[in-house]
Symmetry: C2
Subunit: 366 residues, 2 copies
DNA sequence: TTGAAAGCGCTACCAA
DNA sequence: TTGGTAGCGCTTTCAA
């Protein structure tokens, strides 16, 4: 038994001390215009009666307005749609702040992204949630908007060494490490493995490769890693690379597909009748992947929890704009490892993005 | 670009329609005393100008008070402490509701639990968060308190077929299923496996066993399951059972320790020099388990996310008491599968339970 | 240094 | 069926 979060209130304190509520307010907030003596008296009394400010009243009075934008690609909708949904959900749950939320879309990373940012600059948003792509292009954009007074919140990847407000992403290094450990489980013999990546200039992708390689070296030295293949999110290119790789002389027995662009690779393997013979760990979860996991063609996928990413990104941004948190947090979610056995917990959410973190089900009848 | 959550307000609508704000309020809330005609006019206008109620003002006016209690065992603190922390965190984040939160503790399931409930009955809480143990004892307690007007929220397990308000727990069936799939990965040959359980009259424990057995049957028919061992959370008993089992003639090559009471079993295996030779999947995460995972003695543990359970339980209870949700939700969290490679993401939180869901780190230098 | 009072947007009550 | 208004707990401004 402990912790009684009492009610009381500012005027409770005022009455007990025979001062006005104005004085109490000034004392509590360390504002000017209170004698040191009354201030301590107020603070003590507040402590004593367990004063907790009424956040609703505070919010009502302060009545702040915030304009937020989310600038995200249309492409890879199985990832960014839930991100958007998470942002929406968090925005809807906001209390005591009038938030105007606008979504901007551009076709894909590298196509229309700069334009979208240009447009956003003119609108002078209080905060922007966005996916940082290639450092060489984005870093200056971020700086410009930050200078402009906009809090820049990264989601899905990070842009360190900029003045972005913060970032939320799946822990990329650990994702790579898990992939390595999983492949090692299924490949106890001396074998060769390969990584399909997107663009090693994107922070997130480079980190995954690092985690993968580092973990192989320590936990599975019997596995040899081939040079990483960059497909730049081009399906065609990934497909060609996969065909070439699997037809080549040192065909890997294990694959880590570290981006969402995994279907072309899986298609190539299917055509070569290699699905099920090669151990595969993928990234994200989408409709086409479900049967492959169900039938054991893909041993596991690393789910980056896009809904939660969006939700947390928005919440963190709000906390920052409310002034509660002046730090620049790098939040890294633990990816979920999805196997055949826990797939049902996640696959239902692909249709119904409403809940993500929690799954609501009837228990299977025993 | 879409979705502009505008500001406006109730009097905006009133002015536009030349009616009083009282009328608008009645129309918006479907209260009696408005003609059908004005009602539709108001609703349309609200839609048109994108009316969003100011939740702070609403909360301030309504000014509801709620008293909540959490009645949880002291034992298995590595699980229930984070549950309590999650409850606290959710309570602290509450806006627009004066919540008084009280914690009650009893030694362990079966010891002092009934007394704790008795005491709680007298206090007439609006809601109680608790761990449902043995059905035969708890069901009537739950019913009594529910009749009494208290919303009964289960955490950690469930009590179906009662009028509990809802439940939050890790998905037990899926936990068992994952354990089976993991063991099958490491045991490709014909082998024997065993499950250590707590009490099969506890819903959660029975479900884990069901999931495990069902998954073995379908995905790994080459693994033979020995009869489940119930240790009733008694360390001594678990230790003895483990010794007997591992010295017996059909010694299993794989173990699923489905409760927090896993250390005695691991100790027994250690003494028999079997650690590392037998594949083991455990449950929960605590200090002593960390090195065992790090050194590969335990292949994986299924983390039931106690902090999130507490947080979600409280949030769900609040939503119910606010009247937003009249359903009786059974929320099942996806357990996290923790291997050596993603252990660091979780082990840091054992000391610092502040954040659980999100991990905040500096990226490892590349 | 302090007190008094207006008013944030909403709900609820009373009067018309 | 409607309009008017008090007041939720707090911040802030103006006056003392």
């Amino acid at each position: 038994m402990s912790d009684t979060k009492g009610s009381s209130g500012i005027k409770e304190i005022a009455r007990a001390l025979n001062v006005s509520i104005g004085t109490v307010d000034r004392a509590l907030h360390g504002r000017a215009g209170v004698s040191e003596k009354t201030k301590t008296r107020v603070l003590q009394m507040a402590e004593r009666i367990g004063y907790k400010p009424n956040l609703a009243a505070q919010a009502l009075k302060l009545n702040r307005k915030l304009s937020i934008a989310a600038i995200l690609p249309k492409h890879i909708s199985h990832f960014f749609d839930p991100v958007r949904a998470g942002i929406c959900a968090a925005a809807a749950a906001t209390v005591g702040m009038q938030v105007s939320l606008e979504f901007h879309e551009y076709p894909r990373l590298g196509v229309g992204d700069v334009d979208a940012f240009k447009r956003a600059t003119e609108r002078h948003y209080d905060g922007i949630i966005f996916l940082p792509g290639d450092t060489r292009k984005f870093d200056s954009l971020i700086r410009t908007l930050s200078r402009n007074g906009t809090a820049m919140m990264c989601v899905g990847s990070d842009a360190p060494n900029t003045d972005r407000m913060g970032s939320v992403a799946a822990h990329a290094y650990v994702s790579g490490a898990i992939a390595a450990e999983l492949l090692a489980m299924k490949l106890p013999q001396r074998s060769t493995v390969a990584v399909f990546s997107g663009d090693l200039f994107t922070m997130d992708h480079a980190e995954k490769l690092r985690g993968f390689a580092a973990t192989l070296a320590v936990q599975a030295p019997h596995l040899m890693l081939l040079p990483a293949l960059e497909s730049h999110e081009q399906p065609k290119q990934a497909y060609q690379q996969a065909l070439a790789l699997m037809k080549g002389k040192d065909r890997p027995q294990g694959l880590y597909l570290s981006t969402a662009n995994s279907m072309p690779v899986l298609k190539a393997l299917d055509e070569l009748s290699l699905l099920g013979k090669v151990q595969i760990v993928t990234t994200d979860l989408f409709q086409e992947l479900i049967p492959l996991i169900e039938f054991g063609k893909v041993m596991a996928t690393l789910y980056q929890r896009p809904y939660t990413q969006g939700k947390v990104a928005f919440e963190t941004l709000m906390r920052h704009l409310r002034g509660d948190d002046k730090s620049h947090p790098s939040i890294r979610l633990a990816p979920h490892v999805i196997f055949r056995s826990n797939l049902p917990l996640f696959s239902s959410q692909i249709i119904d993005t409403d809940e993500e973190e929690e799954v609501e089900t009837k228990m299977p009848k025993g």
